[in-house]
Structures are given as C-alpha cells and as structure tokens.
Subunit: 336 residues, 2 copies
C-alpha cells in the first residue's frame, strides 16, 4: 500500500504507531499534559462538580460544507459539556482508522480538530488510535470524551424545566442535517447550505452570566429540536407549546427538507442550543445569545406549560394545534 | 431485517434509540448519575489530581475464551487509569454498532461490561450509541473513557524510572494475544489458552499501600512488554536489563507463539502490569502482587541501569545479551 495512506501497522502499538502520534498528532494537539504520553492524563482540579461526557462521530461524508468529522467531534463534545452548565476543559480523542485512509485526509481532519479545540479553549490531553483492516470500518470514526467544571450555583438539566419557562433556540434549524444529506446524496442545489457545526461554550458562559437560573440547556443534535423537547417535557413532567411561525429555518434549508421529505424539527443541528429560562429573564438571555457570533438568528419559539405534562404541542401558522411526537423511524443515519 | 438485530433506527436518536437505552443498557449499567440521561454526567469530586483516559476496542473476534469485547473495554480503561496511580471512579461508554448485529450478542457484551464494572467498582455514568449501515463497521466497536482520583503523594509515570529500580511483571506474558489470534485463525490446539483480561485497580491499590514510592506502573497491552519497556526507558532516560530465564510464559502460550512466529515479548496482555519499584521494596511489592488473585505468577524480571539510556537489553538464558527493540512491523491487528 502507498506510503501516503494508513497502514495496519499504524495501529500496532509499535514504532510506526509512535511515529504517527509524534509526527502527525502531537504537532497539532500537543500540550504539556498530552506530551507525557502516559496511559492517561493527569489533571489538577478544584473540588466541586465536574461534567463528563462522551460522543462517537461516524458522519458520512467525512468532509462537508461548514466542517468535517474532526471539528464536528470537538464541537459536539464541547457542547455536551456546556449543556451541563460546565466550562469544558479537557478532551480525549479516540480514533478508529480504516487501513488505506489517505494520510492527507487524516491531516486535514486533525488540523480541524486542533483549530476547533483552540477556538473552544479546550485541551486534548489523552488519546488512542486503532487501525482496522480495509472494509472493517468506513474511513474514520472519532470518539471524543471530555470533562469540564460546573461553576458554583449552576444547576441545569433536562429535568429542570418549570411551568412558565420560555423556550429559546439560538438560531436556524436543520442546517447540519440538510447539508450532510445533500452531500451524501450528491444533490446539487443553487442554494448554498453549510453545517452549523460550532462550539457553544462561550455562548453558554454569556447566558449563565446574565441568568444563572437557566433551567435547561440542550443542543438538539440527532433527533432534532422535536426529539430534544420531548425528552425535556418527559423528564421535567411539563408540557411545551411551540409557535410554528417563530421557528427560524433558512429558506434554502426549508426547500431541501421539503424536497427530501424531512421535517426540520427532527433534523440534526450541530451548533445550536435550546435554552429554557424563566419568562422574566427571556429578553435578557435572548439579547446575550444574539450578541454571540453563533446566535444571530436566535428566537423565542415556545413556552412551558403546566398542562399536558410530557407532551409537546405546536401552535400552527393557521392557528391550529398539533402534537409534536418524538422522532420515530430512521431519518438520517450517520448524520454525526 | 429481523426484530432481533440492530437496525439503523436504533441510532436515530428517536424512539427506538431511547427504547434500546431504556430496555437494554440502563437495566445493566443504571445508577443515579447515568439515569438522568443528560448530555453529560455530573460528578461531585474532591480537589486534587484526576486521571483521565480513553481507549477504543476493535478486537476480532468479539467473543474469545476468557472474555469478550465488553469486559475487555471496561478492564482496559480501568487499567489505564490505575496505571496513572489513580482509583478509577467513573467510565463513559461509546458504542458503534453495525446494522444487523444480533441483539443477543449485544446483550451478552453489555452484561459482561456490567459485571466487569461491578467487579472493578466503577460506575458507567454517561454514554452514546451510534449505528452504521451494514458493512460500514465490523459488528461492534466500543470506546470507554474514564476518570479517577489520584491519592495524595502518588506520582507514577513512564518518565519516573530510576537507576536501581527493579522491574516486576504481575504474571505470564502473551495470554490475551495468543488466545485472540488462535481464535481468529480458527486454530485448535489441545492446550487450553484464555485471555487474561482483568481489572488491576485493586492490585494497584495494594501495591501503593505497601510502596507509595513506586516509579512506574504500566499495563503492557498492544506492543507487549517489549514495547512498554522501551517507552519507559526512552521517557525516563534509563537503561533496562531483562533476565530471559525469569520471564514467565505459560508453556502452551509459548508453544502457540512459536508456531505462529510471534515473540511473547511483543504480544498483547490485558490483565498484567509492569511495576518499577526501588530495589529495597521489591520483595514487599512482589508479595503484595502475588497475594492478589491476578498476580499469582508475578516475577522480578529485570532492573533499571544508568548505562545505555533509552535501551532495553535481554540477558539470554545462555548468558549472552541482545537488544530488545520496540515492535516494528504489524504483528497483531485488532488484538484489543
């Protein structure tokens, strides 16, 4: 096999594995903690509450407008930590590489991971690389896990929604899912769409500075806003009412969804958050979100109600009301 | 596809995904932290040093004498944390499932993970499940990441070996690698071999209780004892001398290695550790290890020297000396 592709030997644990780590990963990810290359990283931390999260990324294709599997994997786990109210600090990276993967592709992905980690202000402190024979995986899968510190006094969670909370979305729906799907299917449209993949931890800090009483933070990835809100309604034992005419969707994304028979409510987002906050704070929080580079299209899209616990309803444009159920049936495999 | 296999829909993030988590994973892994099912786990911790580690498991075959990919994935990350001198506390589990995987196989694997976590006294607190279409992965890959607390006064690391330290191995070499390879190749021998997959955190605690001054703890997995000792020699800037006649290898494993052209020094172990300790403490530490259920065949196999920094030498049975290099060339892909 050519010298510019991944070989089984890159996963042997021997000399070639070490060279890959030293020459390709450390120059991008390196920091004093990672550089020790022990079996695990040693972190100095203060007492308190720590958030710990994991996610595996299997997106197909691995490169798409707006990002690639690398920055997606960093941003996704940064966001999962941020949604716990935590300041993300440290990430691990576990790579599964298919024999024959182009080294040039791996370098691009690793570079995107490094840039995303820098932008989110997190350190990659430990990692692992496995190589499987050609055909035993599809190019590259990435697991990232992370730990972060939850500031004193913050208690957000999907079981914390309260009646009269307001539902805010930080921007337009379905950009990521619509983009990946059009790429995968080889569809071309005049309209340019791009993934919204972004780290939201700085936005979360701005929200919590303004309003430490936030009830729920949630990034509506797989399953989309519809599924995320159902989970929140179920875990908190509340009802949620959405206003269809307030839900922001880009016209081009809306068009793609219509063409493909997808409901944007169930399509994955990778750089958006739902914030459920007390009504009295809603405008302040909305202002904080719209001031952030990733929150310009934020909107108040609904409210929490005491009736119909566990259910999500949509008040439609024409004044009717329909139930918004959890996603059933496969919609988009390998979307993240 | 049959009802008793994994469907793409199990990874959709919707209703079927939730049912898989609720009906198959939570009954085995459940605990108050995991049961919240938020994007991440929230952990209460004391100030101090935390170990953080990740590993991805792609072993082929997924079932083998002595274990399966599930307990291997728990034990492996527990061991990586323990080798940092930490008490492993919390694990994450990231599953990549191939469409069509038998649910019965997944249940067996999950049960083994639950049992291994209980035995190691660690909690699974957060997780993620992805499903990829048939052919895009090989049955199941598992990432586990973990965090653990490093007790005050413990400072072990591959850069801490000192001249006159003694090298202890906690048992026989190459059991795991030899077992997996014979299974994969469909070889049958009269001799029964089994993986040594085991969690070593309780053994590590016993070692550190006796000898908090331990220099290095290391589990010689991929690349085996030969590669691990080369890493230690390199990072600590010391030489290491091994005594060939002291290295414990089961006769049946030795026979398999000979037949397959493998050197047991480079074959993976999954339930063994190397401890480098000051010579004055060596007998005490050896006694602590042999008292542990996984340490009965422990032996002193070498010593650290000030000369030949970065190199590992073997004093052979017949009195000669040969260099033990790091593993070069692929030996055993998908061994863990």
């Amino acid at each position: 096999m050519a010298n510019d592709t991944i070989l089984l030997d890159h996963g042997s644990g021997g000399k070639v594995s070490h060279a890959l780590t030293r020459d390709l990963l450390l120059p991008v990810f390196g920091n004093p903690i990672l550089n020790r290359l022990d079996d695990g990283a040693v972190l100095d931390i203060d007492a308190g509450r720590l958030a710990f999260s994991t996610d595996t990324y299997v997106v197909d294709p691995i490169f798409f407008p707006g990002g690639n599997i690398g920055d997606l994997a960093i941003n996704g786990t940064v966001n999962d930590l941020a949604m716990c109210g935590a300041e993300p600090l440290y990430l691990s990276v576990g790579l599964i590489l298919e024999e024959g993967l182009a080294l040039g592709d791996l370098k691009k992905i690793v570079a995107a991971m490094g840039a995303a980690a820098t932008k989110a202000d997190v350190k990659i402190v430990t990692g692992d690389t496995k190589v499987v024979p050609k055909g035993a995986a599809d190019k590259i899968f990435i697991n990232t896990s992370g730990v972060g510190r939850i500031p004193e006094g913050i208690d957000v969670g999907c079981d914390q929604a309260r009646s009269r909370d307001v539902v805010i979305i930080s921007g337009t729906l379905a950009d990521h899912g619509a983009t990946v799907l059009t790429q995968r299917e080889g569809l071309t449209f005049d309209a340019q769409v791009a993934s919204d993949s972004a780290a939201l931890n700085h936005m979360v800090r701005q929200i919590l500075n303004i309003c430490p009483q936030v009830s729920v933070l949630r990034d509506p990835t797989r399953g989309g806003v519809g599924t995320a809100l159902n989970e929140i309604a179920g875990q908190s034992g509340v009802g949620i009412k959405l206003f269809e005419d307030k839900i922001p969707v880009k016209p081009e994304v809306s068009g793609i969804c219509e063409l493909l028979g997808l409901d944007p409510l169930y399509v994955a987002n990778e750089g958006k958050l739902l914030a459920l906050v007390p009504a009295a704070q809603a405008e302040n929080v909305l202002a904080a979100i719209t001031a952030n580079e990733y929150g310009r299209d934020a909107a108040i899209i609904g409210e929490v109600t005491a009736d119909t616990p566990g259910k999500v309803f949509m008040q439609t444009r024409i004044g009717g009301s329909r139930i918004v159920d959890m996603l059933t049936g496969e919609q988009l495999p390998r979307i993240c």
